[in-house]
Symmetry: C2
Subunit: 128 residues, 2 copies
């Protein structure tokens, strides 16, 4: 249950909300264990824009591969950033929706967007 680290001290092995081992107690490192890849924050961007269906995410201009999208949606569910809900169009299909924890990433997405707009040429925003 405890692990030796350099010097002979021991520490409790830290876990995140999904029970995975953390690299460190740093909140940035912990956030990146969930969000740190080229696709996850784009799916969250789409969810913040009101998109909710697999096909909607797949239709975004970046062209996420379907197996990656599938894996990322599962990860968002596991970590409690999103949940599944019946689609609003009266069909039997399911959609995805951000939880409060997921919606709380709004400020992160907005600061990232603002940075991109200011510092990378030829980008343009569609998010408020």
């Amino acid at each position: 249950m405890s692990e030796k680290i350099r010097g002979g001290r021991s520490r409790r092995e830290l876990k995140n909300g999904a029970g995975e081992v953390l690299r460190s107690p740093c909140p940035v490192a912990c956030a990146l264990d969930i969000l740190g890849d080229r696709w996850t924050l784009l799916v969250i961007r789409d969810l913040l824009l009101g998109r909710s269906r697999f096909k909607d995410f797949a239709a975004s201009p970046e062209g996420i591969p379907s197996n990656i999208l599938s894996e990322r949606l599962g990860r968002l569910l596991r970590h409690g950033l999103a949940e599944q809900v019946p689609a609003e169009d009266g069909t039997m299909r399911l959609g995805y929706r951000l939880t409060e924890k997921g919606r709380a990433l709004g400020p992160v997405l907005r600061t990232l967007r603002d940075w991109g707009l200011k510092w990378e040429p030829s980008t343009e925003a569609r998010m408020k």
Copy 2:
């Protein structure tokens, strides 16, 4: 110089500041092309905390592998987020320092940190 996309329309192939092809004109996608992995933002965190030497980044508790650190520092230089400067301790060694473009990621790191602190248990901040 132009590329066919679905429907026969063509578009200019977009590039970022380092001349790499963009997945889309979205500023978030463009930012993630540079920052979207498990390590880059941790190096920027360390730079924002005032660390400047290879060994300082390598000593962070997350334990970044040295070849990954090397590659990421090169990427930060290529994209103009960091620059090399003589170390302040009078030795012949070089250190790294954020440029204005790199320092402009401060708000992104702070919102990420705040999200981690609020939503992931057992994390604690060392960044102001």
